[in-house]
């Protein structure tokens, strides 16, 4: 902001306008008070806090060496099941998310109520954690991988739908206009106009979400929804720390392997 001065006064310059400065200070104050209030009111027993490092070391000590025999008996099948849960969940999510993504894209669906409905569905899906979705589906369908897949699916709809909608909104309008001018049906415009443009982004979103879902599926077993989480949960409850360590290591390996696979696929397709 430049304040023009007369020839007698010197010109001034400040980095922010007074209004901007007020907003910035106000925001700083809000953030600081949030932090301070949280620190002062949080219920933490001081003894636990000071004891924490020693406890961590003790736990790590009990975890090593890991129990390799746990792998063939339990972990392997559980891992495979986890991957299936993630894959099925992602596929289902994509199938359900495409229509919602179409609904939320304002250039494809110019009706505000539908946009709002779609946006609400997507936000709810994203806000409810996959673990909570798993709880719900376990209560409905009983424990097992079905509940897990549905949980993954319903959680991923929000993610995939939002990004898909954004990809549709960024599509080239002139191509669509040209198709509309030929009198093509809405469906044809979707299939020939939008779909080819969003295809690369679509694959990218799918791979990205699948990667994340592998990680998410791993913990669903903690509430009974199948996968490696069940093995982890059993080992934890029985305090078999060496088995816990084995489970953790296998998870690490799987996640790393999946990342590698995804990177390779990305290079080839996108």
């Amino acid at each position: 902001m430049i304040i023009p001065g007369s020839s007698l006064e010197e010109r001034q310059w400040t980095r922010f306008t007074p209004l901007e400065r007020i907003f910035r200070y106000a925001f700083y104050v809000v953030i600081c008070s949030a932090i301070v209030v949280s620190l002062r009111t949080i219920e933490v027993i001081p003894e636990f806090l000071f004891d924490a490092p020693a406890q961590m070391v003790d736990m790590l000590d009990r975890m090593w060496p890991p129990d390799a025999s746990y792998y063939p008996e339990t972990i392997h099948d559980a891992l495979v099941e986890t991957i299936h849960i993630a894959t099925v969940g992602t596929i289902l999510a994509v199938v359900l998310a495409i229509p919602i993504g179409v609904m939320v894209a304002e250039n494809v669906t110019p009706y505000k109520p539908l946009n709002w409905l779609a946006r609400f569905l997507l936000v709810s899906s994203r806000s409810i954690n996959s673990l909570v979705w798993a709880l719900l589906f376990v209560a409905v369908f009983g424990p097992g991988p079905l509940a897990g897949s549905l949980a993954i699916a319903f959680r991923s709809i929000g993610f995939v739908g939002k990004l898909f909608g954004e990809a549709l909104e960024e599509a080239n309008h002139s191509t669509i206009e040209a198709l509309q001018a030929t009198g093509a049906s809405k469906f044809s415009i979707m299939y020939m106009g939008y779909w080819p443009q969003v295809l690369p982004t679509f694959w990218s979103i799918l791979l990205f979400r699948w990667d994340i879902n592998i990680r998410e599926s791993a913990v669903l077993g903690l509430v009974g929804a199948g996968g490696i989480g069940v093995a982890l949960s059993t080992a934890l409850e029985l305090f078999y720390w060496d088995r816990v360590c084995m489970v953790l290591i296998s998870m690490l390996v799987v996640v790393a392997a999946v990342e590698l696979v995804v990177t390779q696929i990305r290079k080839r397709i996108i």
């Binding site: 925001f27 620190l39 009111t41 949080i42 806000s127 673990l131 409905v140 903690l222």
Partner: protein, 267 residues
């Protein structure tokens, strides 16, 4: 990959579109896979129908949502907010030096390898798993939640921070050095403006992520509304469950709103 392959144009002028073999094989594979899953997961029609039946009963019991125990609800939400805020704060505090140490254009290789190793370790596990481990180590309650989410935050922010430092233009720094500026001034004027924009973006994303996760770590005993939710579930208080879920959605929406404001203020 070009799914829409062109066809061949014959001499008589007719156009025969080529069959897209890749897509065909892909669809076939998908169908086979789904069939396999159906048997693997032990799905059958009866089970699905009874499930739907269950589901509708379930939904019936969830609505209307029951807010009578709102004090418990507020307590849980407040604790989740505390956990989210503190975890982000501590995460940023730790990530600032970690990010610098992991930047390959500023530090020697052995330092960056160590720092990057730590960061990757922080990112390897799902926050819930980290939370469980902390619960087992330091006991139930908010402490475990804060520690778990701090670790998750460091894994995210420090990595991105290191990447943005590695992408800065050294020329701008060179010019600031040439004016005789002190080291702090060089960092403040040469480095900060280049990374600050992205940095505030990371922080706000992680705050949002932490708020979401803090609602969940309670499920494994690490404090916050997750615990309340789990307890309600086990007692079959499904109308209270739906009340809690609605409040969580509301809080997250509010968080996104605050996020947008912050982005506008800090340009």
């Amino acid at each position: 990959m070009d799914v829409m392959r062109t066809g061949t144009l014959s001499t008589s002028g007719t156009y025969t579109p080529q069959r897209n073999w890749y897509a065909l094989v892909g669809w076939l594979f998908l169908l086979v896979y789904l069939a396999y899953i159906t048997s693997l997961f032990d799905l059958d029609f009866d089970r699905f129908i009874s499930g739907l039946d269950n589901g509708s009963k379930f939904l019936g019991r969830m609505f209307p949502p029951n807010f009578t125990r709102y004090e418990l609800l507020m307590e849980g939400l407040f604790e989740s907010l505390q956990i989210g805020v503190i975890a982000t704060f501590l995460g940023v505090l730790i990530s600032l030096p970690m990010g610098f140490l992991a930047a390959r254009n500023l530090m020697p290789p052995w330092v960056t390898w160590c720092a990057r190793g730590v960061i990757v370790l922080c990112r390897s596990f799902h926050p819930v798993i980290v939370a469980i481990l902390f619960v087992k180590a330091v006991g139930f309650g908010a402490l475990a939640g804060v520690m778990a989410l701090t670790v998750a935050s460091v894994g995210f922010i420090a990595k991105l921070f290191a990447e943005s430092i590695e992408e800065i233009s050294l020329k701008q720094i060179e010019a600031v050095r040439a004016t005789g500026a002190s080291f702090p001034n060089v960092i403040l004027i040469g480095v900060f403006p280049q990374v600050m924009g992205r940095f505030t973006g990371f922080i706000s994303y992680q705050l949002d992520s932490n708020l979401r996760n803090s609602t969940m770590v309670g499920l494994v005993g690490a404090g916050g509304i997750g615990g309340t939710l789990f307890a309600a579930f086990q007692r079959f208080d499904y109308d209270f469950v739906s009340a809690i879920l609605i409040s969580i959605i509301a809080v997250i929406l509010a968080g996104e709103g605050v996020n947008n404001i912050m982005r506008r203020i800090y340009r």
